[in-house]
């Protein structure tokens, strides 16, 4: 069964120079799309990936990452909406390249579909009350 998931990978310093993602392709036949990548001054690597493949290989690939010492988290936990600050204006709707925000036609309330979020962060500064939060 094919799966496709967006995940956040955190690489400790000792792994930054190792070709980890290459192994996912070569050994587990997984397809990846890099949504975001950065290395902090403390040399911790952060990689946001969309990872596709067969469920079995996907699970084995994730197991390989965990064993290698990579911390893994689902992307949807990383971009959140502070519901108390959101005013449901709609400033985010056309800014989001992934279409993760939509307007509920009857009430005009803004729905945030976090499973569509690619973690680009464009909504963070576009939001006038700064209700969108990123926790990378």
């Amino acid at each position: 069964m094919p799966v496709s998931k967006k995940i956040v990978l955190r690489f400790p310093r000792r792994l930054v120079e190792r070709p980890i993602v290459y192994r996912l392709v070569k050994d587990y036949d997984l397809e990846f799309n890099i949504l975001k990548a950065s290395i902090t001054p403390e040399q911790e690597g952060l990689l946001v990936l969309e990872l596709k493949g067969n469920q079995k290989e996907y699970d084995r690939g994730i197991e390989f990452l965990v064993k290698a010492g990579v911390k893994i988290q689902a992307l949807s936990q990383d971009v959140t909406r502070n519901e108390a600050r959101c005013t449901h204006c709609g400033a985010c709707v056309t800014v989001c390249p992934a279409g993760a925000f939509r307007v509920e036609p009857r009430t005009m309330r803004i729905i945030f579909e976090d499973e569509k979020c690619i973690g680009c962060g464009l909504c963070i500064t576009a939001c006038p009350p700064r209700a969108m939060e990123v926790h990378f």
Binding site: R85, T87, H88, T94, V95, M108, A126, P129
Partner: protein, 405 residues
Amino acid sequence: MAKTIEEINQKIKKGQAVVFTAEEIIDVVREKGLKQAAREVDVVTTGTFGIMCSSGAYFNIGHTRPRIKLGGGHAYLNDVPAYTGLAAADLFLGANALPDDDPRNRIHPGEFIYGGGHVIEELVAGKDVRLVAAAYGTDCYPRKRLETWLNIKDLNEAVLFNVRNAYQNYNVAVNTSEKTIYTYMGILKPRLGNANYSSAGQLSPLFNDPYYQTIGIGTRIFLGGGVGYVAWQGTQHNPAVPRTDKGIPKEGAGTLAVIGDLKQMSPRWLVGTSVVGYGCSLTVGIGVPIPILDEEILAYTTVTDADILAPVIDYSDAFPQLKPDRLGEVSYAELKSGKIKVKGKDVPTASRSSYPLAVEIAAIIKGWLAEGRFELTRAVAPLPGAESDVKCKPLNERPIEESDL
């Protein structure tokens, strides 16, 4: 038969007033007809919740011992400069004010995380705010420095005073250039990538009383979660613009200056706002109840989003260069559908003002009226109308020559 405001207030006091929101009234009149509805309905409530930049607040902080004269000195509230051109203990804080060390647009687009609007929100929320002030010292006001926490509950007065709010209609902003631009109407993507608008449309106060028959100076309103008043016409009030057959202005027209006691307001309805690449501001909730005195006044409140047209303006050229060019006209019904057509292209739309919270404001006023907590007022003077000679003019710039000095 015409009603009076006094008769409506009697019904409000007894809890018998018949009130609908400007959204609900559309179907009520469709079902009952104008004549019957005008007899039965007493009040229609409106609301709008959007970024309203010409907002601010003034405070009297109380005198210090020994006295300090802030007037003519410098004062900062949470590092945001406040205006000290008033007397010893009075300060005015504008929503757009920024800390001196804010990077602004030095790295474009600036984020504008904290400014005057945010200070107002924190004060209203009951949070302590840091005042740092310096003065020059006089015989009667000898003190020169002041650093203290302030809390809204300790201030003598804390008054929201917004010189231009509740715009009657507004531009639809687009960008025809080749690069993304960062405007007060939001992020505008190149080559007509998106279109942003900012009005509650059929719920917005001045669309429901387009000729200012009931809304005038002295009108009691919902302001920032508390009770406020219309103080004057807002700055740039421009009533004599082209209108539709139903009297609805086809571009930005009337505005309101509003005032109210900040101490009874709420941070839910006064939200500090960051406009990327542009600056800081305040998002303000305003609602105005309209007394249904006759059929004509009621008929105006039945305005729908399909009746209201807004001009599409290019914010990469026409707006900054103050050119009159327009790319067309669209209705709020089209804007709310999620896309409009501009120069033959489908352009996705987004709102800058919150329709859901505008709906909530209209419902809150309805609740206040039902509980008898809010009475309607007769305006003490009208706002300048469509036939007046009041006009919003551009600046007549006159270069200063050496010989003038």
